[in-house]
C-alpha cells in the first residue's frame, strides 16, 4: 500500500492533527501532534508530539503501539483518519525544525479564521518533542457527510 501523493501533501499542510490511543484497560486517550512527515514508499508517517503535554499518549504507544490519527483542515473540515501501529523513534533535528514551522503556519492559518494566537497557543506546544512513527494500515475519509468513515486504503 502507498499513501497517495495528494493525501501525503494534505497531511503535511497546515491541518490539525489529533491522536487517539488507549491503555491496557482500553481507556482511550487524546493528544495533538505538532507536525507530520510522510514517508510514502514505506507507508508510514512520523508524528511529532510534546511528551510533556501528552504524557499518557506517549506511554500508551510505548506499551501497545496502537494509534489512530485524524488530519483535519480547519477551513472546510476535510478530514482523513489513518490507523496502524506506531513506535517511538528518536527525534531528529529536522523534526524539531519542522515542528517549529508547523506551529507557526498553523497559528497563522487559524488566525485567518479569527482565532487569536493567544487562544491557539495551548494546542501548539513544542516542549519535550518525541516522534511517533506510524505504519499506516488503514486510511479512512472522515470529512463530515455521507462518505464519513469510508475506507479508502488498507494494508493487504
Amino acid at each position: 500500500m502507498l499513501i497517495n501523493q495528494d493525501l501525503a501533501a494534505f497531511m503535511a499542510s497546515p491541518v490539525m492533527i489529533i491522536l487517539g490511543t488507549r491503555d491496557g484497560s482500553l481507556a482511550p486517550e487524546i493528544a495533538r501532534a505538532v507536525g507530520a512527515v510522510v514517508h510514502r514508499e514505506e507507508c508510514c508517517v512520523d508524528l511529532i508530539v510534546s511528551e510533556w503535554q501528552w504524557t499518557k499518549t506517549v506511554s500508551n504507544i510505548r506499551a501497545n503501539g496502537q494509534l489512530a490519527v485524524t488530519f483535519a483542515r480547519p477551513s472546510d473540515y476535510v478530514s482523513y483518519q489513518v490507523k496502524g501501529c506506531a513506535v517511538v523513534v528518536p527525534t531528529a533535528v529536522e523534526h524539531v525544525a519542522l515542528a517549529g514551522r508547523y506551529m507557526e503556519s498553523m497559528a497563522s492559518t487559524l488566525s485567518e479564521l479569527g482565532l487569536e494566537r493567544g487562544v491557539v497557543a495551548p494546542w501548539l506546544v513544542g516542549r519535550d518533542l518525541v516522534t511517533l512513527r506510524l505504519s499506516a494500515q488503514e486510511i479512512f475519509v472522515q470529512t463530515p457527510g455521507a462518505k464519513a468513515g469510508q475506507l479508502i486504503e488498507r494494508q493487504p
Partner: protein
C-alpha cells in the same frame, strides 16, 4: 481543586470543535471531531451524533471514552473521562440540540448533512486540565443572578407601557441598557403567518422597520418555526446567510422591500420566540460583535422577557379600544397649502410610493391610502380604529388582532422616511394624520 462541569460552560458553546477518542474491543483506537457537545448537568454531557458511526459502534462495545473540550476564551483544554449511557432520539434535550444544529448548519448549506440522528448521553467520571505552558487568563465570571435582576428591570418597563409602540420601545431599550447588548430588533408575525415583519430595532444604522424574514429562514426564522430559542456564539463558524446588500432608497424602490438591518461583524446572535396564548406573535432578536456575548443564562432571561412582551402586545391589541368618534377638528378642509407631494398606490400589492420613493406595501399601504382619501373628501384628519375596522372600502382581512401593529408599522415607516404626511396616535383607538403639504393621490392598477 475539583473542576465542576458548570464552570466550563464556555467550552460547550460550540466555538472550538471538541474531540472524542474511543477504542474498539480489539484495542483499535478511533479519533474524531465532534460538532456539538452540550452540558446536561454537573455529571453528564450530550454529544450530537450525525455521522460518527465508528465512535457509535465502539462505545456500544466499550463504554469508556475520552472527550477533549476547549475554552474559546483562552484556548485551555480539558479532558473528560466519560462513560456512554444512552442515545436519545426524542425529548427536550434532543429537540434543543437538533434546532441548534439546524439553525447553524442550514446557513452553511449543510442542513441535510448535519441532520441529527441522536444525542448520546455520557456520564463524566473525571475532568483533567491538559498542561499548557501559556499562562491562564483569569476569566471574570459575571455576577450570579445578574440576568434575573436585569429581566426584572425590563419586565417592569414593559409592564408600564400601554400601547404597542411603547411596548416595543420598552423591551428594546430595556434589553440594550441592562444586558449591554448593542443591537436588537423585534419582529412580529404577519397574519398570513409565513413571514415576520420588523416593527422596532435598536443600535443599527437604519431601523429596517418593515423589513421581512420568512418563517424558517435563518436564525430568526428558525426560532419562529420551532418556537424555541436559537443562539450562536461564534458567527465566524457560520457564514453569513444574508448577503450584505447595501440598503438604499433606490434598492427599496426597485425591489419594493426593505432590507433587514444587520451587523456585518456580528459574532453572537440569539433569537427568542414570542408566544402568547399558544400563538406565535413574533421574534425578539439580539446580536453583538463580541464572541460569546450571550450565555445560556442570558438566553433564559431573554426568553422570559420575550414571552412577557408577547402577552403585553396581545393585551395592547385587545384593549386598544375603538375610540370615540371625534368631534370635527379645526381642519375640516383638506390641506391645500404647503408643498405638493405625490402618493402613488399600486393596487396589485398595495405598495405606496411617496415622491417616487418606496414606503410600504400590503395592509399598511392600503390603510394610508384610505386615510388620505377620506382626508381629501371630508377634510378630516382624525380617525378611530372602529371606523377603520368597519370600512367597506378597506376590505381588511381579519386584522382585529393586529390593527395596532399595522398602524405602528405605518407610523414608524412614515417617520423614518420623513414624509410630508405623518401619523400620530392621539389616544386609545384614535389616530391623526399630520400633513405639512397637500397630497396628490394617484391609483395604479
Amino acid at each position: 481543586m475539583t473542576i465542576r462541569l458548570r464552570d466550563l460552560a464556555a467550552c460547550f458553546e460550540g466555538v472550538i470543535p471538541s474531540i472524542i477518542a474511543t477504542a474498539a474491543p480489539d484495542g483499535t483506537p478511533n479519533i474524531s471531531y465532534l460538532s456539538h457537545v452540550g452540558l446536561v448537568d454537573d455529571e453528564r454531557v450530550a454529544l450530537s451524533n450525525q455521522f460518527f458511526s465508528k465512535t457509535a459502534a465502539n462505545v456500544r462495545a466499550n463504554r469508556n471514552a475520552a472527550v477533549l473540550i476547549v475554552d474559546p476564551r483562552d484556548g485551555r483544554q480539558y479532558r473528560l473521562d466519560v462513560t456512554f449511557e444512552q442515545t436519545l432520539d426524542s425529548g427536550e434535550l434532543f429537540e434543543e440540540m437538533a434546532i441548534q444544529l439546524r439553525a447553524t448548519s442550514t446557513q452553511v448549506g449543510m442542513g441535510e448533512v448535519m441532520r441529527l440522528r441522536g444525542v448520546d448521553i455520557y456520564r463524566v467520571r473525571a475532568v483533567h486540565v491538559v498542561p499548557s505552558p501559556s499562562p491562564t487568563q483569569e476569566v471574570v465570571s459575571r455576577e450570579a443572578g445578574h440576568q434575573l435582576m436585569a429581566a426584572a428591570v425590563v419586565a417592569r418597563r414593559v409592564a408600564e407601557a400601554t400601547d404597542v409602540g411603547s411596548i416595543v420601545d420598552a423591551v428594546l431599550d430595556g434589553l440594550c441598557d441592562t444586558f449591554r447588548s448593542s443591537n436588537a430588533m423585534l419582529l412580529l408575525r404577519d397574519t398570513t403567518g409565513d413571514r415576520l415583519v420588523t416593527v422596532g430595532s435598536y443600535g443599527y444604522d437604519r431601523s429596517g422597520i418593515g423589513s421581512e424574514v420568512l418563517v424558517g429562514e435563518g436564525i430568526i426564522g428558525t426560532a419562529a418555526l420551532d418556537r424555541r430559542p436559537v443562539r450562536v456564539s461564534d458567527m465566524s463558524r457560520v457564514r453569513r446567510f444574508s448577503s450584505a446588500v447595501q440598503a438604499s432608497s433606490d434598492e427599496e424602490s426597485r425591489t419594493r422591500s426593505i432590507a433587514l438591518p444587520g451587523m456585518l461583524d456580528a459574532m453572537s446572535q440569539v433569537a427568542l420566540p414570542m408566544v402568547a396564548h399558544g400563538t406565535l406573535r413574533g421574534v425578539l432578536f439580539l446580536e453583538s460583535s463580541e464572541r460569546l456575548a450571550f450565555t445560556k443564562e442570558d438566553e433564559a432571561a431573554f426568553a422570559v422577557v420575550a414571552m412577557q412582551v408577547a402577552a403585553a402586545l396581545a393585551l395592547a391589541e385587545a384593549e386598544a379600544g375603538e375610540g370615540q368618534s371625534s368631534a370635527p377638528t379645526t381642519a375640516d378642509k383638506p390641506m391645500t397649502t404647503g408643498r405638493q407631494f405625490r402618493v402613488v398606490h399600486y393596487a396589485y400589492d398595495d405598495s405606496i410610493f411617496i415622491d417616487n420613493e418606496y414606503l410600504i406595501k400590503g395592509v399598511p399601504g392600503r390603510l394610508l391610502m384610505h386615510l388620505l382619501r377620506i382626508h381629501q373628501w371630508e377634510g378630516r384628519t382624525e380617525f378611530t380604529n372602529r371606523e377603520i375596522r368597519l370600512s367597506e372600502e378597506l376590505r381588511l382581512p381579519d386584522i382585529k388582532d393586529n390593527l395596532e401593529t399595522r398602524l405602528l408599522l405605518l407610523r414608524r415607516r412614515l417617520e423614518e422616511k420623513a414624509t410630508p404626511v405623518q401619523l400620530l396616535r392621539v389616544g386609545r383607538g384614535r389616530i391623526r394624520l399630520d400633513l405639512t403639504g397637500s397630497a396628490i393621490l394617484e391609483e395604479v392598477a
